[in-house]
């Protein structure tokens, strides 16, 4: 995660804590911690850009720094949720599972960048992170029409990290996304490894 993306994520995740008046009312009883989690999960695995790869900064382990930036807004959001009457165990579930997803996404991004290329990783990230959320939105629209959606598509849409984080907005117990975490880790690490192998093969040919 580069510094610009980290600053953007920080501003977006701190905004619910700083909101006042009508803006605060419009958020209703939504969990501020889940809102902060959505932002960071959306941006922490963002594939490295060409400029970042050229500068050689993409291979550094950036997610711990980003975590340093993410913790204060997340803690403030959790404090606000506690004051608003959210159950502590629900907040713990959001915090622990969110942290796990954060580490997996950040580390997979670094692995892909270190392997020398991130073409496949970028595709995998696009499919798993924003893709599953888009799939869920499409299913919601489709639900307005006749017929039942294809079950595997529904299963896939429900396993996306952002879909899980959005589900945590409403107070109440939600099972931790262990299947999502495992699928995400395997999918993204595999994408990074394949990228690396292809990059090495290309170097050998040259």
């Amino acid at each position: 995660m580069n510094r610009a993306a980290a600053v953007l994520a920080w501003a977006l995740s701190a905004a619910p804590c700083a909101a006042w008046g009508a803006a605060r009312e419009s958020l209703g009883d939504a969990s501020r911690l889940a809102l902060a989690t959505v932002v960071w999960l959306a941006l922490v695995g963002l594939p490295a850009g060409r400029r970042e790869r050229r500068a050689g900064t993409a291979t550094a382990r950036a997610w711990p720094r980003a975590l340093g930036l993410a913790l204060p807004p997340a803690a403030c959001a959790a404090w606000l949720d506690l004051r608003a009457g959210h159950a502590p165990q629900d907040l713990w579930t959001t915090a622990v599972a969110g942290l796990l997803l954060f580490v997996v996404l950040g580390e997979a991004r670094r692995m892909a960048a270190r392997a020398g290329g991130d073409g496949l990783y970028a595709l995998a990230w696009l499919a798993i992170v924003p893709g599953t959320l888009g799939l869920r939105a499409a299913l919601d629209w489709a639900a307005l029409g006749p017929g039942e959606p294809f079950a595997p598509v529904v299963w896939l849409a429900e396993r996306g990290p952002l879909d899980w984080a959005f589900a945590r907005l409403a107070p109440g117990p939600e099972p931790a996304p262990w299947i999502s975490v495992a699928a995400l880790a395997v999918g993204l690490w595999a994408a990074g490894a394949i990228d690396g192998r292809r990059a090495r093969a290309g170097e050998e040919l040259r």
Binding site: A19, R24, A84
Partner: protein, 352 residues
Amino acid sequence: MIAVVLACTVHMATRAPQDAFATHELRLEGPLEGVSIEGGAGWTTRVVGELGAGEGRTLRVPVVTADAPPRAAAPMPVLVPRSEDADPGADAALAPALFAPPDWDGLPDGLRRRALPPLRASRAGAGTPRLALLAAAAVLSLAFWRRTPVALAAGLVAGMACFVLPERPPPRVAVEVLEGDGASGRWLRVRGAVASLELEPGSSGWCESVPASSERRLEVTLAGGPRWSLVGEGLALYALEEHALEEHVLEETALLEAGELGGLGPERNDLEDLAAVWRRDGAGRWTFHGPWERGTALPAPDAGEDAPDPPGWLISALPQGVGISVARSAAGAEGVPRWARWVDRTSFGERR
């Protein structure tokens, strides 16, 4: 959305009986730090206050009874000793109920079905100290972006500090509604507040919490004279008490004794000065009438385009086909808006 509205409507139409609390006399012998009494429906009465060795005190306490009217036998108080080892001199004895509210089912059906006023505590903000802390931690993390341990440590420390910084007390959310029934001339005074609601010591009535949590309790504080309150962190708490009108007051709208509540029919306001009144006729048309002074007839309707609408919660779940007055009172305690709802005498001859 339709399902939620339907569910709410069904819930309001079939409201469960309220939990009745009665006044009991409690005899305490020190040394002790308090007393806990298990009441009915998950309510606990807690007496908070310290009594020294040899010190005795008799006071009145509210206890929620599972039965209405309350049983002759009072529940057993549990002592909270001053030290880990209970002192043999400490004692507490609860007498049977002195005063108890009438049977909830004996209230007019129209009053029992009224929906409780909503109590929505606006969510608190983070406050300036926490926002300043967030900004400072972000600047520090970005300044040491290439030194991962420093950036991470700054985030950890600031995150933990968010939980220990002092906070401002939450804004008080409270409301009072006078629910009137023209058929019986009875009023139900409903008061609500979030987290804590003061009760009149020595009174009896009904109470309710939303949600019905096991954390709810009736608290009697000994310091500074016994003070009664409903307490429940994060809960919407309600206290209901009945006010009845004598027959002659109903018929002649005669002068009322102090504390009595008069009718609110269109011919005369015998309740109190009202800041804004809305009137619904039998056909269901609402009109705004502006302020309405006590002792006068209902003012002419204000047909202006700027006439405000009555609050939605105040006009929901009301009976059809009868005249209704709803009003915002000019009285009421500071920060506690007071509303009134009056349903005219029905043609069904309903009278209890």
